[in-house]
Symmetry: C2
């Protein structure tokens, strides 16, 4: 309780702050368990040194050296220390790291650390090097500057995660994502203290990993886009270096069309099969009544179990339509013979067989919530995706579970939505013991609508909000403070080569066919891609479609719109006249943008489908200005509007070119106020 109190005090003291944080630790994300302010500042100079004592291992030395380089890259101090080695000494006034033992990349390993910054030195203590790695990230986030140069604020931090399982799932199945994409995202994960990469490796659209036992699987199932086993080992080693577990998902018995291209004999319907190129839920399914199916899975999983050192192994298990099973007389006969009543029962039968295989190969089974069927043993992990109820239900039944429902970052919802989605919400009714079974959660980056070029802008910065939800106390839930810190983190994440900011400009240059992207940026910063599954509605997309257009440049949490909307709320609540100038400036910029945008679209046909929404922006901004005029020049309320507000608002709400304007509700409220309605 003391911890929580400390945090609440901190947040209260900064809630109304502007972009520059009042407290230096208000830039931390995830927020630590406990922060106590100190007196003074630790100055970073050219001779800043880091030493590690206790029982260090190779990982901590490499990461400590990387800490030096990252500090140097940000500060330009030309630090003299090139590497942290067993010979390094902190010379009294540097940073001393003490680790008691090498951390194991296992669920529940000690990840705590204690960081004490004083004007004359920095001490970082951790039971394991994994905790120390988290401490390094905290140090980097604390880096500050004043007139005298760079410093770390004096303070002491005691920190440990609330949940042991803080993951990101990356779907390499639907769109292949090269190794460098994974590596830079592993860096990003480490920066916000996430500790597990769930690697979704097989899908209807691709079997993305080299099998030496069944090479035809990747050879015929991937269009040549797969990871070699050496690449997989490289990614695992890279993640290990960052303190991140990596475990694979081989999605069975559904989502497996790509397997059946080379192995139609284990399908529940004859085939032949081709790699799927559309998005959706498809019927091809493994035959759970065929011993050949289990023989293949046994050999394949034996190979993959050896390749992935992690204890866990995800078998998918989601979205089995059951249509092929229902249509196959032999399968129906099998079910009758074994007293299996329905698709669910047959899948449970399949899962028990797969569980037996995985157990034999030393792995613990994880599966999407559909695998929770009566009679499943308690040592599986239930991955909740359709609703947190399944998570709670699983825990109540004694199953360990992880949450992804509410963390589907592919659905392009705002960070606040994910942030307020707690794995253990108040009122769950779980006992303390049951609550222990909720291991944590995973953000899920399904890749229908992302490519290597856009994926970072879908993962970051929103995933940092999820990382905080999984690390920090449930009481850390101030959305405004979260967004303020998110902007800082978004910038810092760029140092890992993440492209979430910079690729937007690049894509706009391509779209605009030139260096002048101002008007396109103005539009792109107030629209967002269609949310949930609306983008699929017209079946426009295939795996080879261009993901280079306006909805791909647009991001969730469109920043200009977010700031405008907040200002409108503040204005309507407070009537603060100081806000009017800012609102007017935005609205005027938007009103005058259409002409310039149209000129760009003249040379760029790819932008022409966005012309109607550019025009709608012009119209709605004009309406907003008229509303502002009416609100600020009292007495005009009764005169006729120069336009029909309802029509303009309705038009501006309409999705165009797979995006939608994000400022319409706020302007509608201005109109309502102007009309004296609200």
């Amino acid at each position: 309780m003391t911890r929580i109190l400390a945090i609440l005090l901190l947040i209260a003291s900064t809630a109304g702050a502007a972009a520059e944080p009042v407290n230096p630790w208000d830039r931390l994300m995830p927020m630590p368990s406990r922060v106590e302010p100190g007196e003074g500042r630790y100055r970073l100079g050219r001779d800043f040194r880091v030493a590690v004592t206790g029982k260090p291992d190779a990982r901590i030395y490499r990461e400590a050296s990387r800490l030096l380089r990252r500090l140097d890259d940000r500060t330009g101090l030309f630090l003299t220390q090139a590497f942290v080695t067993p010979d390094s000494e902190a010379d009294g006034d540097g940073m001393t790291v003490v680790v008691e033992r090498q951390g194991q990349l296992q669920v529940g390993e000690d990840e705590s650390y204690r960081l004490v910054i004083e004007p004359d030195g920095v001490q970082l203590r951790a039971t394991t090097d994994l905790g120390a790695l988290h401490g390094f990230e905290t140090v980097l986030q604390l880096l500050s500057a004043d007139a005298d140069g760079y410093y770390l604020p004096a303070l002491s931090i005691d920190d440990a995660p609330r949940f042991a399982w803080r993951g990101l799932m990356i779907d390499s199945g639907r769109h292949f994502l090269p190794v460098d994409v994974l590596k830079r995202n592993l860096d990003g994960m480490a920066a916000v203290k996430m500790n597990v990469l769930h690697w979704h490796l097989t899908e209807d659209q691709g079997f993305r990993i080299e099998s030496k036992v069944y090479p035809e699987l990747h050879q015929q199932g991937s269009d040549g886009f797969f990871y070699t086993q050496e690449q997989v080992r490289d990614v695992i080693a890279y993640a290990d270096q960052r303190g991140i577990r990596v475990y694979p998902e081989f999605d069975v018995p559904g989502h497996a069309t790509s397997w059946l291209v080379s192995h139609p004999e284990i399908a529940a319907a004859p085939g032949p099969y081709e790699i799927e190129r559309s998005w959706g839920i498809f019927d091809p399914t493994l035959d759970p009544t065929n011993e050949a199916t289990y023989a293949l899975l046994d050999r394949l999983f034996a190979e993959m179990a050896a390749l992935f050192p992690d204890d866990y192994f995800h078998i998918g298990g989601d979205e089995v339509t059951g249509k092929q099973w229902a249509a196959n007389p032999a399968i129906q006969a099998f079910m009758k013979q074994h007293g299996i009543e329905d698709t669910h029962g047959l899948q449970a039968h399949f899962n028990r067989r797969v569980l037996e295989i995985l157990t034999r190969h030393g792995k613990k089974m994880v599966g999407w919530e559909e695998i929770l069927q009566p009679g499943m043993p308690k040592d599986i992990v239930i991955h909740s995706w359709r609703g947190s109820e399944s998570l709670v239900a699983a825990a109540r039944d004694g199953y360990r579970s992880i949450l992804s429902s509410g963390y589907y970052i592919d659905l392009m919802r705002p960070a606040s939505h994910h942030y307020l989605n707690d794995p253990l919400p108040e009122g769950s009714g779980l006992t303390a013991e049951q609550a222990q079974l909720v291991l944590g959660g995973e953000a899920t980056m399904w890749s229908e609508h992302v490519t290597a070029e856009t994926i970072d802008s879908r993962i970051w910065p929103r995933t940092a909000a999820i990382a905080e939800r999984l690390w920090s106390s449930a009481e850390v839930d101030d959305v405004l403070a979260m967004y303020r810190r998110l902007d800082t983190i978004a910038l810092q994440l760029e140092e890992h080569g993440l492209t979430h900011i910079k690729n937007r400009s690049m894509m706009m240059r391509r779209l605009a066919n030139g260096f002048d992207i101002g008007p396109l940026r103005t539009l792109a910063d107030v629209v967002e891609p269609l949310k949930i599954y609306q983008r699929n509605a017209d079946d426009r997309y295939r795996s080879h479609s261009p993901y280079t257009l306006l909805p791909d440049v647009a991001v969730a949490d469109a920043r200009d719109a977010r700031i405008f909307n907040r200002r409108v709320t503040e204005f309507l609540e407070s009537g603060d006249a100081d806000l009017v100038a800012a609102l007017r400036s935005d609205l005027e910029r938007w009103r005058s943008n259409h002409e310039a945008f149209s000129r760009i679209a003249e040379r760029s046909p790819a932008l022409r489908e966005a012309l109607p929404i550019s025009e709608a922006l012009h119209e709605i901004a004009s309406l907003g200005l008229e509303a502002l005029d009416r609100i600020t020049a009292e007495g005009d309320e009764t005169s006729a509007w120069s336009v029909t507000p309802g029509e303009i608002i309705e038009t501006a709400r309409r999705p165009v070119a797979k995006v939608e304007l994000q400022i319409v509700d706020a302007i509608a409220r201005l109109v309502g106020r102007a009309a004296g309605i609200i």
Copy 2:
């Protein structure tokens, strides 16, 4: 001569054109041998199809499929064709590719192509698929848009390279560069029709390739930053797919400190040795009198010769100081015994031994010009780096040669400098037969001062100008036209993930510690990094230094400065009053920038060393405005200047923080005109 005439006519007709090219082929780079305009436009639509006939191979199908995706990514047409396969048909109105045979990645292979675009179809014919690949890039560069959508202009092109060897050398030794850096640069090379990657793999600062025969070489010589052999094979396969040869350089007997960390016994002085972390020319050298040296080279080169399929193998051979040899009595005795007079003679002895080893392993030897010593056999290739005289001399002596002198892109000179540097300049005096021995050239990306983050901005777009020099006719030498096309190419190169534009903004956000980088960009766009080797003058840099500061954000050919300087020249030549407004606008922007820049530097100590040059920009811009005022308001010439122009100009010329202002000479000329001097 007809060819040359056609090109000259084209250039003449567009020389005065604005940003938008008058002729659609004026966007091509390198300029083809011959272009003939046609009538009309070929329209690209959703159903655009590509088919390959003749004797296609796997490479052409994959690249043709990639052509489709690149067209689709640029146009957003949602092309229906997913892949080009042997079953594909162009349906009469698509693009038909005819290749006679599979190209071999060998020097002198046929790379010609003929492209005919007519309103009802596109035909691409090539002897080899390598030629067809070049044709694909031409098609992509020709992509244009009008009110009706995307099109290719009707024309016919006959094209073939002037030189067979059009290379880029990348130095992975001094700074390690991950595989994805190499891959995206291979894409960039292919886009401008370059065909050889010279991979500099070993240096004093690092032995960057896995050896299974002598694993201690990379284990102790690389700080863990090396390429595995699988990664090397991956890079070679990737390059092959783009029609690019890859050959390695193992630099011996100098530049080899990193080898000696694990093998001091083959050094010419006892050791022990450590990986070098400074920049410069160092003394550690292999012992050419020790049989152990050749035994190691023999086994290592046998391994590497098998790994790299290319015919050529570069042994470096540059910058041997000879100090260790001179100080070693045994080596001196050996020289006396064998009648070797000096360092050069001893290195020639060494090279003959190495040549014998390489020949035995089936490779042709390439070396920097120092290897050209009396008595070397004629089947080596001389790589000229100190001056083109050595190239000419080599050719006269009957040696084949390639040019890098004048193509040192690490020296941060303008593209124009490299562009006008011809491997066969007029007056070389070579016979036609001797000229044939000049195979081409290579841009050299030495990596003292580049990292994975900045290297693309050093290579591109300037290397495209070198690519044109090596591909196109010597008569294609209009610098203004080159720069105009270079801007277009720079944008197109971004589609390969190249970071030459986008990383600058990212680095500025880090430097400015925020999203608002306007004033920093204003400064960064008129300065350039110190040229030639000036940046090393104060011995500031180590391999682990931060390359994240203003000189790293700055690029050669600073665009704002280049445009301003050209306008000043035009203004002074023509007196055109229309130019004054543009000049004034630039100067006012620069004059008012210092205050805003200072505010950013307040929160960003890393920028503070640049404050004096920001102030100098303010001063010189003020001076420029005063000069403009005097020029335009005649009669004021005699009144006293409000400042002392000479002092301001002198201050503005001074390098600060490793950069220098690029607009000083132009402003000095304005001052001179204002003062009635010029």
